[in-house]
């Protein structure tokens, strides 16, 4: 009986069964393929975009270092006391570069001793996805009275502001441009809805107010791995040093590592 059954099947499966089997197999394989592609997409987005962006941002920093002339005065006057803004006068404020032009480098020791990220003009995805922190073109430049605002990814594409929530009031944030070093001090953060453009006002969240302070505002996604809200970090300019005075002693090593000793 069993032998007969086997023989019958092997001899002539009906055409309908053959087509059905083939269809089920192809659909199954396509579904498995779709699942694998989705897994690969997750890996690409959460891991590979960081690898790519980190590499590209290192290049941007190298290009910026070459642009500086290769030989920044990397021998800071260690004996000199910490200087305040008055000793060098008002900070130099340069004009914004064109879209995707490099403004400078940001150092945030709270994010790790090797945290160096380029600051690039523009907040479109071509800037934010590969080049680093993006400067809102409508806001002020580093050192200016008003609001110097930048955006950065919390996750993926380098995750440049992944640790923005770990900033503690009083943390120093260093911005290096062609003109010098701007030392901002973190003040507070705020979680807002994505539509709150008033955080970019010259006096953040106070439209129409006349600024007297020099703000640095950083925006990123919130929560991590989501984008329902935005996390905003406000800092105030504490001091600045012209490029000729060398980097602040606290970040001299990072500056030397990032832009080289010429």
């Amino acid at each position: 009986m069993v032998l007969q059954e086997k023989a019958r099947q092997a001899a002539a499966p009906p055409a309908g069964v053959v087509i059905l089997r083939g269809t089920v197999q192809i659909v199954g394989e396509l579904l498995i393929t779709a699942g694998i592609i989705l897994l690969l997409f997750v890996a690409w987005q959460l891991w590979w975009t960081n690898v790519e962006s980190d590499a590209r941002q290192s290049e941007v920093i190298k290009e910026f270092a070459q642009d500086l002339g290769g030989a920044p005065p990397a021998s800071p006057d260690a004996s000199a006391p910490a200087v305040t803004g008055e000793e060098f006068g008002d900070p130099v404020v340069s004009a914004a570069p064109g879209h995707a032009g490099t403004i400078g480098i940001m150092y945030i020791p709270r994010f790790g001793p090797n945290y160096t990220r380029p600051i690039v003009e523009g907040t479109t995805s071509d800037v934010l996805d590969t080049l680093g922190l993006g400067h809102y073109g409508t806001t002020a430049m580093p050192g200016a009275v008003g609001n110097f605002a930048v955006a950065g990814h919390r996750q993926t594409h380098g995750a440049v502001l992944d640790n923005i929530h770990t900033l503690v009031p009083g943390d120093k944030i260093y911005v290096q441009t062609r003109d010098g070093y701007y030392v901002y001090v973190f003040r507070n953060n705020q979680i807002v809805m994505p539509s709150r453009t008033d955080v970019l006002e010259p006096v953040p969240t106070l439209p129409g107010a006349v600024p007297t302070e020099r703000y640095l505002t950083m925006t990123s996604c919130n929560p991590r791995f989501g984008a329902e809200e935005r996390i905003i970090a406000y800092s105030l300019l504490d001091s600045w040093r012209p490029a000729s005075a060398g980097p602040p002693a606290e970040i001299a090593d990072q500056v030397a590592a990032a832009v080289g000793k010429g």
Partner: protein, 56 residues
């Protein structure tokens, strides 16, 4: 489907294995270059800016 493709690749077994690996690699490159960047516009958490200026 994949079995059918494998059976219809030309050449001896080792060549068909090599061809399969090349095809898989090509599919990966196409996905990373074109498919995944396009898909990422439909995920949310790459958006870190304020306002509507650059919503993807």
């Amino acid at each position: 489907m994949y079995g059918w493709i494998f059976r219809h690749l030309p050449g001896p077994l080792w060549l068909r294995i090599v061809t399969s690996l090349v095809l898989i690699a090509a599919a990966l490159v196409l996905m990373v270059q074109f498919l995944f960047p396009w898909m990422s516009h439909y995920t949310q958490f790459t958006d870190s800016t304020i306002g509507a200026a650059s919503q993807p």
